[in-house]
Symmetry: C2
Subunit: 362 residues, 2 copies
């Protein structure tokens, strides 16, 4: 008897490690993957077929569903996919991410907890508002093009150092400086009506880039926020939401309408990975279990051309296969599990020492 299973073609916009892991995790299901990216990028190397950006129509026309692994992808391709009715999650979530203030305004207007902020027209106004309304302590964020900490300026009573921003002619957000106890995030997935969240994690960021995270960190408020936010956006797929946590209060820092770096732990610390869950959601399949299997941790390998082999004794290495190791570039990550958070943290410390023997250089 011929195999009668429907085999879906999934098109992924973007060729980075998030798409790479989505394909590796999706291979167990009867799926075919087309990627729109440069052929040397990680996801293209494991795709069934790789398309250049100009050929996005050809790729999208052949696929059953289109998704993205990064929100700053070719806008024409996104629009074309949206119009074809194949894009999931839909373009509304990405549009909120194109300019930082749109995301923040959406969140505030829908009653989600966010830091106090104000939108201004350019760098000069930003510095003025920072002085008049924030007492020269706050964060100036360029509204466009920010990712992994780019375009963000933390000013703590020393605005004179930032006078160069007076010449920057783009919208800014002036945001209160949040003196958080720690940062945390949640990964959650919405399917056709169904919602499933993973256990949040504690995150350690440096210079706007995630260095490591670990958990479980149980926080019911984050779960509720994730459920309401995905519903308000009529979102289908996996989403990551980053928070600032102070005592009993949480504020949303930002959301990512895609699988997320702080969810890499789900490859080993949860039953269904965030990547498989995303695919199940966009394909209308049943969502899988998200319960934590063990206390977990993840360490990013940033800007290093290789990893020391001893790391394999402590954890599992996911090496993305990028040709060039540039500063701050995510080259791979290491997942660990342990009997308790203490053991996980000890492993993270050892791995940090092995990968960055001379310290982080971000």
């Amino acid at each position: 008897m011929k195999s009668s299973l429907p085999s879906y073609k999934v098109c992924i916009l973007g060729g980075g490690q998030l798409g790479w892991m989505m394909i590796l995790e999706g291979r167990k299901l009867p799926l075919t993957f087309y990627v729109i990216a440069n052929p040397e990028e990680p996801a293209c190397r494991v795709a069934d077929k790789c398309f250049s950006e100009e050929n996005y129509k050809e790729a999208i026309d052949q696929c059953d569903v289109v998704t993205f692994e990064f929100e700053h992808v070719n806008e024409e391709a996104l629009e074309y996919a949206q119009e074809s009715g194949k894009l999931l999650p839909k373009v509304n979530s990405v549009e909120l991410k194109r300019e930082r203030y749109k995301e923040k305004e959406f969140l505030r207007d829908h009653g989600f907890p966010v830091p106090r902020f104000k939108v201004v027209q350019d760098g000069e106004e930003a510095l003025k508002v920072l002085k008049d309304e924030f007492n020269n302590v706050g964060v100036l964020k360029q509204s466009r093009g920010g990712y992994d900490g780019k375009g963000q300026y933390f000013i703590k009573g020393d605005p004179e150092k930032y006078q160069f921003l007076k010449n920057v002619k783009c919208k800014f957000m002036v945001e209160e400086f949040v003196n958080f106890d720690f940062e945390a995030s949640i990964i959650a997935t919405r399917g056709r009506g169904e919602f499933k969240a993973y256990t949040p994690s504690f995150n350690y960021n440096e210079k706007g880039i995630l260095v490591y995270n670990y958990g479980p960190y149980y926080n019911e408020e984050m779960v509720k926020i994730a459920e309401r936010l995905t519903k308000e956006l009529d979102y289908i797929g996996t989403m990551g939401i980053e928070f600032f946590v102070m005592r009993n209060k949480v504020l949303i820092n930002e959301f990512a309408p895609r699988v997320h770096n702080t969810g890499h732990y789900t490859l080993d610390g949860a039953f269904t990975s965030q990547f498989e869950q995303h695919l199940r959601a966009i394909l209308g399949m049943e969502l899988g279990e998200t319960t934590v299997l063990k206390p977990f941790g993840m360490v990013n390998i940033l800007g290093r051309p290789s990893f020391p082999p001893e790391v394999l004794k402590l954890g599992k290495v996911y090496w993305y296969g990028k040709e060039e190791a540039r500063k701050r570039r995510k080259m791979g990550h290491v997942n660990v599990v342990g009997e308790d958070l203490e053991e996980v943290k000890q492993k993270i410390d050892k791995i940090m020492q092995l990968i960055y023997p001379e310290g982080l250089d971000l």
Copy 2:
């Protein structure tokens, strides 16, 4: 800085699901996979390059290490790989598997617990020995070509039904009928001097084919046997050993010098999968952690052209993508985890009902 990680080329003899999972699991490491098999077979579909059997020399010459996913592969290719010094595990383990009696004699001669058996020259002698020395109760096994229960005859006082074996002109083993309480197996890996075992599982076989298994089932004797057996064979890689268990006694049924169907649970129920562990061992990398994350279970999808989508709610499906669903053929499997063995067994029951609503047909 250019990435400076050594990237190994691994050649896999055989194109079935075991090779397929080895590649899926190995993709996270900087490895390239060449497979010697037919292009439509599962492992070939996910390989970097697929070679036909005639071209084995070309493939092996280009690889750093050669392994196999099934012991009954092209013997010339195996010998060539062995002579090239690239074959791991080495050919000695496979040679013991070519004829059943060689494996059993090796085990008995090295003091491992096995059922009582006798080797005879043909079917006629087998029936005579069964009568004279086993009181017509026992198992007749053809020495060659047995796999998944083929070539095995269980005779329980009714030898008259098996008189057709008188005309079979090949070596047989006559083996005592073991009235076991249950069957179990262990998956273990030997690296360069290092040994790591997974937690054994309870196995349910029907007509010589694994239907489902679950665990953890802790048994120290099995761990000791696995450690000594891999050492005696100077084995490098992952091995599966199947046992009969009676009260406090275990007998080896057989070993498989490769990753094993009863170890599929390690993809989700253990930190490092048996497939990644095998690759680490043959590549001389550090072995990974093998501790069980949660009580686990696995159900084989046998001879079915598809699976009901509801199964995804209970577990993770690994669909091998074989074109034709023949009776008894392994088309995929489902992995589950649970809080305890009871929950795991309930999930297995539900999945069995979903996949085989009219019962197993083996």
